[in-house]
Each structure stands twice: as C-alpha cells, then as structure tokens.
Amino acid sequence: MLRLEGLTPAPAQVRGAFRLVPLLRTRPCDDVRLSPGVMAAGVKVVALPDQAHYVAFVPHALRLDWSSSGAPLMALGTQLAGPQHSSSPQPWRGLELVDRMRKRESAGLRFLPLHLALEGLLALHFAPPRVAWKELSHDFLRAGLGFRAESGVPGSLLPGFEDALNTFEVHEGQVGLLVFTGDQLASAFVVPSAQDYRRLHRTVLEDLYGELVLRYAVLYPEPPPLEAAPRFEAARTLPELRAALMGVRREWASFVEGAMLTDLLRRPLLTEPVYQAGPLRLERFVTDLDPRQINHVGERLTRPDGELLYLKTFQLSAAQTRRAYLLHQLAGYGWHLADAAEGLGTTVPDLVARIEKAGFGYLLTQAVRETAAKARRLR
C-alpha cells in the first residue's frame, strides 16, 4: 500500500486543464538529496541484466545522494555534494549505450526517472514459462517475449501544461506535486527536500504521461471549481475565525488523500525492490492492475520508518493495464492456457482471443490460434 507518509497536501492551484496540488513535507529532510543528473537528453539503448535491451527516449537523469550515517548532507545555504561530473561523457560511449539505467557513481546513484517503473512494466510482469507447453510458439520458447513497446506522451505536448507549471506558485516547504487532469491523477512527483524541488520543478514538463492524460487535458479544458468551501459564519471571535481557516486547510489535505487519490492510495501494490541505498529502499511498484480502475506504475524511495522521500508515477492507459494484467495472470498460471482460462473464469478459445487482441498472438502456435478461432465460430 502506498501512503503519503510525512507529506501534507496544500490547496490546489488550477490553470487551464490542470489542477496542481502541492505537497509539503512535515519534517525537513536533510540527509538525502536528489539533483538533476548529468545525462544528455536523447534516444538511449539500455541494457538490462538479463541480456535484454531496450531503446528509449531519456529526457534527463536524477542523481541520488545520501549519507549513510544520517548526518546532514547540506548546511544552510551551501551544498556538500560529490564532484560534479558535468561535461565528461563517462560511462557510455559510441551510440550512447547505457549499460544500466541506475549506476552507482563515486558518491551517489544515477538513475533515469520513470524508466525504473517502465522497465518494470515491460519486464516485471513477465515470467517466462518453465514448461514448454505445445501451445506456445517456437519463437517464444527460443527467443522469449521478444520486442515490446510502450508509449507515453511527453509533458511538453500536453496543451497548457507548460503554462500551468510556469504560473504555479511554489510553496515554501514544497517537496512534491500532484498533477490532475479531468480530476484523474496524471502523475505524482515527490523529492526529498524543498531545495531539490525548486531545481526539479520544471523537469515535470519533460517527463512522460499516459495517453489518457492528454485526452483529458484536451477534453476538459476547465476543471470544475473545487474550492475549499470554508464555514466561517459560525466564528464569533477572531481566534475562532483563524481556527476555521486552519480547518479549511486540514479538510483540504484529508480530501485530497481521501477522495482525489483513490486510485493510487489504499490499493494493493505489486512492488519490487530495485536498490538499497544505505537504509533507504528504492522500489518500483504498480497498483494491483485491476482492469476496472485506473492503474499507475511508479517508483519510490522510502525510509525504514515509511517516510516517502521520492515518488514518481505514470498513469497507465486501459490497453497498457490489460496487457500487463494478462501477462501477469499468464505467468501466474505458468503459461498453462487451460488453467489460466479456468482461473480467469473464461474458456480457452476466449482467452486465446484476448491474448491475440492484446497483441501477444505471436506467442501461441498457429494451430492453437486456428483451433480457437474455429471453436468460437461454431458457437
């Protein structure tokens, strides 16, 4: 379960189709820093540990520094960071072959935002079959899942998003931002400290967004007013009035957590640890892939006590959810079609149709697909 531990939502700022909710950190964080990493934007080839490769457009990288002893990493006004690797194109050469997306550098960890999560989406829900069922195609058994692609929309293409970010008034202790379009969560972004946030605020524009975000941004150019309706009439004195105002803030915070984030919070998560940075855990997660709800993939960094230090999410489209769900289920049943069909409450021909519709038809042999099609026709 994901919780916004240690964060308080502040009242939203609306501009165009975007409702932006700032997140404030309750307790300042001074031993973990996240800074814009050194990586030129462009198309990169990323090698995964299991011999697979993937090609992706990489907008920018983040660099995580942490102190293992818990001592502050920065003094007031200055920054104690490792040496800047600004210009040297060190770990990859030639056609920008990135050996790993997360790479331990001398002092910190460099990683590419959202690619942890997307890599997860592409690979996490796929467990190769252990039994060579005769239904599975030769290519699948020999070469694995093969080529897969998922797409998103860069933030700069969302109409009005840049404007909304530029005119957003960053709060004093703000460490994060929730982006809503059509009152659906488009993405969440949280960093350890307010200073980091100031530097990274605009990188939100360079990130990747689900296609539903684009659709909502175009379809709902003006979100309905959602003002924290204050109840000030009852106040008899000035202190009571002030209490009422504070009440409005509290209500807003609980409203955001309770009503606006239902498809992210309080849902079972599938998580996978990616890196252990000192006492901190970097993990990727995906919500339970319930096809009836909007699902998010994301990555997060948490302290042992559960405080959320870093969070980035990506809203999956319905098709993406279906694909991931299907692969997940098939892997769960060891790719045995009859078992899987029974478990999913359907028949084998229908399951085959579903697999074909999701674009994975090439995983099954021609004979199986033809038999299933015939069975469907005869019904």
Binding site: A12, F168, E169, H171, P230, F232, E233, L245, V248
Partner: protein, 473 residues
C-alpha cells in the same frame, strides 16, 4: 434587472480600472496579445456607448498607454462627437496630448499618419502640439522619424532650418548648433557626445566607440530614466540621482539590486524611499481615515510580473508600504506581507498567496483600515478571502478594506477582485495611489452614476485648469 444607470456605472468603473492598470504588456498570467485584444475591446465598447464619459476619462488619471489609445480613438471617430460637446472634447484632447511624455506623444502622431487619421481637427491638434513644444529643435533631433511623419501628415511648414534637417540631404552646414552637431556626428566621433543619449548611442556604434568610453563621456547628458536603465551595465560609471526619481521607479530600481547589496546599503536605500514617499505625499496626501491602518502586501511568486513588467507588482507593494509608512505616525501603521521578509527592503517574490491568513493577522493587530495590494489570485486556500472578509466585517465594526490591483486580467476584462464585495481598483504606479483611493468608493459601488459623472466633470475642470499637468485627486 439592473437599471441603465447601474449598468453605465459598472461599465465605466470597469473601463477606468482597466485604463489605470493595463499597458498592453505581458503579465504573469496573460500574454501581451491577450492584454491588447482585451483592452482594445473595452475601448471600442465604451467609446461606442458612452462617448462623453469616454473622453472625460482622459482627466481621471488613466495611464499614458490608455490616454494615447483614447486620443487616437476619439480622433478616429471625430464625426460622432455631439456638437455641444465638441469644445470640451477638443480641450481635453489638447491637454491630454500635451500631458503625454514626449516619446509617447510623438509616437501617437506617427500612428495617426500610419492609420490615415487625417481631418481638420487632427491637423489643428498636431499644429497646437508642435507649437507648444518648448524646444522643437531638440525634439526634432531626438524623435526625427516621428517629427517628420507629423510634419508631413499635417502639411506643416516648420520654422527655421528644421525642414532642411528633416527632409534635406545635410550637405551644407546648419546654423543651428544642435542640428550642426548632428550633421557633424555622422563623420566625427567627438560631436557624438553633444547629442541626446538615444541618438548618440546609434552613432557611437557606427563609429565603433567602446561602451565604457562612451558611457563615461555621455554621462552629463543622460536623463534620469536613462541613468536608471544604464545602472546595471555601466559598472558605476553612471551615477544615479535618486532624489529625481519617482517613487515607483525608485522601488523598481531597489528591487533590481541583489539581496546582499540591498542589505549592505539598507540605510541609504531606506532614506531614498522615505524621501521619495515624502515628496509624493507633499504633492498629494493620501485620503485615509484616522485609526490604525494595515497594508496587506502580496509578495507571492506572481508578484514577479513578466519579462516586460519585471517586478512591477512587487515594486508597487513596496511603494505602497513606503507611502503609508511616511503618511502615518509611528505605531499606527503595520505592513503584512504574504511571506514576511526580515525587512521591507529585502522583499522577494516567492511562494503562494495566503492573503486570508494575513488579513486575520492584520485584524489581530487591530487594523481598522486595510489596504490590499495584490494581483487578486489567491490560492492558499483558494476562495477563502471572501468569507473571511464577510466574517471580519461582522466581527470588526467599521472595518474598511480597499484593494488595489496592479495587474489587468485579460480574461475577465478587468482587474481581478478578491471578493464580490470588494471590487479592486487598478493601479499602475504608486504616484496614482491617491487617485486610486479617491476612486475606490466608485469601484465599491457605493456611489451612483450621477456622483461618478460629477466626479469626472470635476476632474475635467481641474485637468483643464492645470493645463493638463498631472491632476491629483
């Protein structure tokens, strides 16, 4: 259904507010194009429906951008002037044109030519303007292109050697010293320094004179605005004379300095500010009620303005603070910034807008009158100011709140108000704050159309009597 009078009053206050604040330039939330389209619509609407009142707004202290627009629009549609109003309109036009700063005045004449507005009245106005110039030769050198356009447009024969200067080949020497200097400056690097700065600048570039040498030698000829403009790049070669700057310009300058410099020169800068505020108050005192006064000053991120109007909303807040501090005795005034700086001088545009919270702070302190300087965009929490104000008016009897807004909202066609009970008053520079406070009761809807008409007629009287010099409330 509202009566015709109410509609007229509301239309007019809407227009006046826009004409106080809007300059057709980019703002934090809207582009220059939005602003231009929106304000032009307002002009066309008011001109079409309330021509007399439209002309009279020239006397109500609208900003120079809008004054120029009004003059142009009135001249464009001269045929529609009612006969009994012709004399007053002409007087207003003459006075308003004379009041415009020279660069705007000449540019307006040029525009008349571009847009082919040419009738007897336009030519007479042009003649009067040119005849009224104290130093036409200087103007002809400084605004050569515009003066030539104006002379051509009105078929004027200019006195002395000006026709040869504006239309000739400059092959023979001039007898007028300035014209001769200009002629020589095309060939000699020496003569450049005797020309007005803007003219000299181009010629200096032509002669390849290094910037540092040029600035140090042209320094005595600089006007105050030019000094201000050159402060940053001159590395101390150009000296600023703060006593000659207006309060708004001074505040803009102070805010342009980096924080550490503001901190180091605190005493000096504060002295400048209070002197400028004192001078402004001596000319036009602020119409303030007795009792404790608080100001609610917005220094949220949006107060940073835009690339074209950098830090103007913040500068206005700082100027209002300086004015009130100078106007009120010690202890009866207190400023409440949305994000309090350690010292007013060190203010920065950062963070969200939490005006309701500061309003309560001001009331706790005991304020009976609150002046709000804000762009009216409130987001922490949004929409809380209105109910807070309603409750505060109930709890604090006799509470008076005035909202001045330096930013024209192109979408709403007016300056944005914080609460329907508290219409905002547009404000472009701190020098107009006395006018704005005088106008606030019309914006608040307490006065009738007749009162507003009388107010405008009164302003017209003073305006024409003072020959168009800046009339204060």
């Amino acid at each position: 259904m509202p009566s015709a009078d109410t509609v007229a009053r509301e239309d007019l206050t809407l227009f006046l507010n826009a004409a106080y604040a809007c300059t057709g330039q980019r703002e934090f939330y809207h582009t220059a194009e939005d602003q231009r389209v929106s304000v032009q619509f307002l002009h066309a609407y008011i001109l079409g429906n309330y021509r007399r009142l439209y002309a009279r707004t020239l006397a109500a202290g609208v900003n120079d951008f809008n004054a120029a627009e009004i003059i142009l629009n009135l001249l464009r549609t001269g045929r529609q002037t009612p006969p009994d109003f012709r004399a007053e309109e002409n007087a207003l036009l003459t006075a308003a044109l004379r009041r415009l700063p020279p660069q705007r005045g000449w540019k307006l004449l040029s525009r008349l030519r571009q847009e082919r507005v040419n009738n007897r009245r336009t030519r007479a106005l042009l003649r009067a303007y040119i005849a009224g110039q104290r130093d036409l030769t200087f103007q002809a050198v400084k605004y050569r292109r515009h003066v030539r356009a104006a002379a051509l447009h009105a078929h004027l024969t200019l006195p002395g050697e000006l026709p040869a200067f504006l239309f000739g080949q400059h092959s023979r020497a001039f007898l007028t010293p300035l014209l001769e200097t200009f002629r020589q400056a095309r060939y000699s690097g020496q003569a450049v320094y005797d020309l007005p700065f803007t003219v000299a600048q181009g010629l200096a570039a032509k002669h390849g004179i290094p910037q540092a040498v040029f600035l140090s030698r042209i320094e005595p000829r600089l006007t105050e605005r030019e000094r201000l403009r050159l402060q940053g790049q001159s590395e101390g070669r150009v000296e600023l004379r703060p006593e000659r700057l207006s309060l708004s310009a001074l505040c803009l300058y102070v805010l342009s300095l980096p924080l550490h410099e503001r901190q180091a020169r605190q005493e000096e800068l504060n002295g400048w500010l209070s002197r400028a505020a004192g001078a402004l108050l001596a000319r036009a005192p602020l119409p303030l009620p007795p009792g404790p006064v608080a100001s609610l000053l917005d220094n949220s991120a949006s107060a940073a303005g835009s690339r074209e109007k950098r830090r103007r909303p913040l500068a206005l807040a700082l100027a209002a603070d300086a004015l009130l501090r100078a106007a009120r005795p010690e202890g009866s005034y207190q400023a409440f910034w949305t994000r309090p700086p350690p010292e007013a001088l060190l203010v920065q545009a950062r963070g969200q807008t939490n005006l309701s919270e500061r309003l309560l702070d001001a009331l706790d302190w005991g304020a009976r009158m609150v002046l709000v300087v804000s762009d009216g965009v409130e987001n922490d929490p949004p929409g809380a100011f209105h109910p807070a104000l309603v409750a505060a008016r109930r709890l604090v009897p006799g509470l008076e709140v005035v909202h001045v807004n330096p930013v024209f909202d192109a979408e709403m066609l007016t300056v944005r108000a914080l609460s329907p009970l508290l219409p905002a008053v547009g404000l472009r520079s701190a020098e107009d704050l006395p006018t704005a406070l005088g106008f606030a009761r019309f914006a608040a809807g307490q006065a009738s159309l007749t009162e507003l008409e009388n107010y405008l007629a009164g302003r017209v009287q003073t305006f024409l009597l003072t020959g168009g010099r800046r009339a204060e409330a």
